[in-house]
């Protein structure tokens, strides 16, 4: 099978992307642990607030923009070649985009390290960093746009060569993510190019914070689905195969990714429920649409366990729950999916509280929110990034893992660490522990009462750092392995593989139109109001 795939043509491209992603991930994991340490009673007197915010900025920028974007790009190139079984179109463009992206990362990293960009990854105008920080991030996004175009070109070329045939689900989902990302980055791009850069270069001295927050909210929710979709691609196309079964329904998979595309965009105002610049009516509309984001998750909670049940019963599982025990939990992909689902359960229920207008008021700007996005992104998504890396690395290197035990240990450690870190953190948020704060005064009796839980959280953070180190170690060990890679297919077949699909389930034309309509209705007036009746602007605060 390996010989049929032109994967060796792009293995260097994919590995370059993955190593940028994972090397920076390791640095960010160290910074994250430092932050947990100085927030806890154990390290409360270490460092300065300036150093803390510099660290938070670096941690957030790497995890949110570098790890995610480079991993997703590398994974996309891999899927385009292996799922479509064709060479990657525009490989030169892909390399050029990689170089541009790396230059962008270096620019952002240097400005952060010089203390000229401590604005956190969400920017928070009127805080203003060195312009080169934003230019660096624009380059990373521009590189990802090249990737989006290449994904669209690859899918279109395949469809032209295979008229009437269904696009393989893995590629359909990857292209859905590329389309989603193009829509997602519009808000961020308009904010940075139209508002933030003129301020950062000193052309203007004030900025309309309401508008910039609104534009960022456009990006801020959809971006987490951009990060999450690789996990879902693995759920639908790799997990059933790894478990030894078949995908219960190919159509459910397509619908899931389409739901993500439609309902992750016109929902960002739920990040601004406590902001004064929007009317309650538009907040309500977007909260209602946010509720529909649960739909793809519900479809997945049905489809993937159904697929696993097929595998479990094929392996001899009996009874109502016997198939669960019969699953091959020793395989990293299956184990990671199980652990990911548990974290998705907790994180998803927490997310329902965030999106509910009334309940959000209780946890807004508390540590609850930080805990939530660590559990969903750091937990549910990243553990699947690990599993995907373990699964496809042998195809890229031609070498096989010598033992799966260290892989399993690493995944378990990540799961236990993430749960230990985030569950007490959620609870602290309910107690009112605030977020984005550099130090806590543990002489205060209320804050002192939080101490034990913060320390427990720190213990989780230390386990996560250990797991991150172990992950990179496992990959390095694989590069030195002498076992040849197995010859087997990677992607799951559906129980009932589609022969012919309606055009709507085989492309994105219709869905783009619907996204446009929904965005106009949900974001049209909330953005237009800043032009119709401009609000007082805020004085820029330069962090340089």
């Amino acid at each position: 099978m390996m010989e049929e795939w032109p994967v060796h043509n792009i293995s260097r491209l994919c590995l370059a992307h993955f190593w940028v992603a994972f090397a920076s991930f390791l640095a960010a994991a160290v910074l994250g642990t430092y932050q947990m340490w100085v927030r806890s009673p154990l390290g409360a007197h270490i460092g300065t607030p300036g150093g803390y915010y510099m660290s938070v900025t670096a941690h957030g920028v790497i995890m949110a923009y570098v790890l995610s974007t480079f991993f997703i790009m590398g994974f996309g190139y891999f899927v385009a070649v292996t799922a479509l079984n064709r060479p990657l179109p525009g490989k030169g463009w892909a390399w050029a985009a990689f170089v541009v992206g790396v230059i962008g990362v270096v620019m952002a990293a240097v400005t952060i390290a010089l203390g000229k960009a401590s604005v956190l990854y969400t920017f928070y105008p009127p805080l203003t960093a060195s312009p080169w920080f934003y230019v660096g991030l624009v380059l990373v996004v521009a590189a990802s746009w090249v990737w989006c175009v290449l994904m669209l070109v690859a899918m279109t070329a395949w469809k032209r060569a295979n008229p009437g045939r269904p696009v393989p689900l893995a590629m359909f989902a990857t292209t859905a993510n590329a389309v989603l990302w193009l829509w997602t980055t519009v808000g961020l791009a308009v904010e940075v190019l139209y508002q933030v850069l003129p301020v950062a270069f000193g052309f203007v001295q004030t900025v309309d914070v309401g508008l910039s927050r609104t534009l960022f909210s456009w990006t801020l929710h959809a971006i987490v689905y951009f990060w999450l979709i690789p996990a879902y691609i693995a759920f639908y196309t790799m997990v059933p195969r790894a478990a030894g079964g078949r995908l219960y329904s190919d159509t459910m998979g397509r619908l899931t990714f389409i739901f993500f595309l439609i309902y992750s965009l016109p929902v960002g105002l739920h990040h601004l429920l406590m902001d004064p610049e929007h009317g309650n009516g538009f907040k309500f509309i977007q909260v209602l649409l946010t509720a529909f984001v649960a739909a793809p998750t519900v479809l997945t909670i049905f489809t993937i366990p159904a697929s696993l049940e097929i595998a479990g019963r094929l392996r001899g599982g009996r009874g109502v729950f016997g198939w669960i025990a019969a699953l091959p939990w020793d395989r990293p992909m299956v184990l990671a999916a199980g652990l990911s689902f548990v974290m998705l359960g907790f994180g998803g229920l927490g997310g329902l509280i965030n999106m509910a207008y009334g309940m959000n008021a209780m946890i807004h700007n508390t540590a609850w929110v930080t805990a939530h996005f660590h559990l969903i992104y750091g937990g549910t998504s990243i553990i699947m990034y690990f599993a995907i890396a373990y699964e496809i690395w042998p195809y890229l290197t031609g070498r096989q893992h010598q033992s799966l035990a260290p892989l399993r240990w690493q995944l378990w450690l990540w799961f236990v660490g993430m749960m230990t870190m985030t569950l007490p953190w959620h609870w602290l948020g309910l107690q009112g522990q605030w977020r984005r704060v550099a130090n806590f005064n543990y002489d205060n009796p209320i804050i002192a009462s939080w101490g034990p839980l913060v320390t427990l959280s720190l213990a989780g953070g230390l386990l996560l750092l250990l797991s991150a180190l172990w992950f990179v170690r496992n990959l390095v060990v694989l590069h030195r392995s002498v076992l040849p890679a197995p010859v087997r297919s990677l992607y799951a077949l559906a129980v009932d593989p589609p022969q012919r699909l309606p055009m709507a389930l085989n492309g994105f034309g219709l869905w783009n139109v619907l996204v446009l309509v929904a965005m106009l209705m949900a974001y049209g007036y909330p953005i237009a109001q800043f032009v119709i009746a401009p609000s007082p602007t805020a004085i820029v605060h330069r962090t340089e």
């Binding site: 300065t48 610049e277 309650n280 009516g281 649409l289 012919r500 055009m503 619907l514 004085i539």
Partner: protein
Amino acid sequence: MAEPSDPRIVDRSWRTWPSVAVIATVLGGALLGVLIIPVVQGRSAGIDPFTAICRALGILPGSPAVPQIVDRNPPTPVSQVVWTPQVLQILAEARPERGRAKVQEVCAACHGEQGISASAEFPNLAGQSGTAIYKQLNDYHTGSRSNQFMTDVAKALDETTIADVAAYYAGQPMRNPSPSTLADAPEAITHLVEIGDPNRNIPPCAACHRQGAGGPIDAPVLSEQRQEYLTSQLKMFASGQRRNDVYGRMRAIAAKLTDNEINGLAAYYRAGFR
């Protein structure tokens, strides 16, 4: 005649129904969020339906569910300075060379032509932030701050001249710090400057007063300031005699400082590189 299984018919229904579903969802949300809920909530809050709907849309301020509070006692601002884009533009276009002429004519007698004051009761202005000088001169001009000499001087200045003078002094270099003032400060004072005292709700001085720090843009730089001047200002803030600090920030902080701390901080800031 197309069969029901004809791909074109299948495609058409796949186009129609998802479109209907998505648009109906958004419209249903709009109907509830902009029409029904505001009208019902407004009724119990005594708000007429039209106002409630306008509030839900964001055209009128306020929530459709809560009567707007009418403030019968609007507060009197402690300073008339507002950092509008126009004011920032005036500062950005200020001309230090014009400011120098005014300084030689009026200010130099007490504050020195280079901004090094003639006597310990007058503040040094060399290298002071332009926005800080602008705010204080404006406050003297409008009566928000008063001083037997400065009130009359500032009343005679127009806004452009104030900006020019501020730009001139902001551009004067600080002195080379004298080694005699660079002695180590007591640890308690350094702690107050860098960390503050959370138990007394005292934020660190450096958070606002260090060159390039955060905080309000009109916060003055304190490095190389006259010790006597700082002591007297902190005591005036503490007693409430000086009250042109927005939100009463400095009055709140100074009132919590002991005399020893006030003297220690003033001595700390006499030195350079603070």
